[in-house]
Symmetry: C2
Subunit: 206 residues, 2 copies
Amino acid sequence: MERNQNIEKRILWVAERLFLEKGFSGTSTTEIAKAVGCNQTLIHYYFRTKEKLFWDVFAPKMEQVVEYLDAPLDEEKDFLKKLGNIIEFYFGMLELDERLAPFIVNELIMHPSRWDMFRRRFLRSESRSSAFNRFEAMVKEEIDKGTIRNVEAIDLVLDIMSLTISSFIVAPLGFAKGECDSDERRAYLTGRMEDIKALVINGLRP
Amino acid sequence: MERNQNIEKRILWVAERLFLEKGFSGTSTTEIAKAVGCNQTLIHYYFRTKEKLFWDVFAPKMEQVVEYLDAPLDEEKDFLKKLGNIIEFYFGMLELDERLAPFIVNELIMHPSRWDMFRRRFLRSESRSSAFNRFEAMVKEEIDKGTIRNVEAIDLVLDIMSLTISSFIVAPLGFAKGECDSDERRAYLTGRMEDIKALVINGLRP
DNA sequence: GTCTATAAGGAGATAGAC
DNA sequence: GTCTATCTCCTTATAGAC
């Protein structure tokens, strides 16, 4: 009884887990059904197609992320410290779930068009209120003040995202020292984070 | 006649192309056979399994890359200029084939163990002659001389590789300005390269 | 060497009974 | 809502004729 209530929600939970672990194409509806403990056809009953199930799982998450991106922009006054906070914030977000970074990159490569919506929302230039536009304004202000060298905000964001995400891709490969247990992993990521903060902040000096 | 000679080699060529374009799991032996213009069973006749075909295609390439990595280490005397050369060298290597970066990252995520061999060869600590060990020695020397801040060579390599590879992942997404034709793409990548050189070289100042 | 035929299994999706 | 049965298609791989 308890297990059978809200099968629709349980399908969403299980699908999220499996999609994160094995990607969209690596996960079958049969497998999701087995993990839920229901019949495979039930997934099609509730969600019609695997593609729609994917969207129903991840569209809300993507909305959430876009909203969260504002947070680290308000925390500090000093721009370089703010930048440090942004890097820590990204690390924190990806550390919440170690499957996140590989999942994002993999889906980005395999199904680029899936992210059009997300990219447009993130970069939207009509609205001055988006996180990116606020960040861009800050960067320009600092360049004018002469506190940092001339740089495009979008490049800076890409630098930070690339360095952050790749740390999580590389971490499970034991690129550091032999294989990683969970504590070593955490230590490795903290080390990478400090290195990236140093690189980015140092690299912006005029 | 001409088409039918050296079917084994033609399978290797076609497999390389398709694996690069659609990844290992995204490519079927049936598809390879169709592109070669031969029967699907012939692929298994020559290579027995899809997995072994994959290795026969890419193991030689990986050897080649490990050997090439030495080249940019010899070009310049000044370390920071050498670093610029290394970044240009990586960009040049990935620009040879735009499918390379997504392929590498995708296979890295989906089949991490496939790269153990490559990583071990690249980082091999027994031999002082590997590209990485030579680079590590140079970094330490520069730190001692005080020309750069204290940094781990492996972090520096990861920073450069992450920034370079991610530029190629992001480029086809039209992250820059609308959609990309081939000239725009090239311009975008050159811009990214200069940005990365500035970031890394600037970021190493003591 | 190259083919046909086929095994053995997995995928996503639908029809229709209950 | 949930099930069984089934369709259609595709996958890797093998046996055996030629």
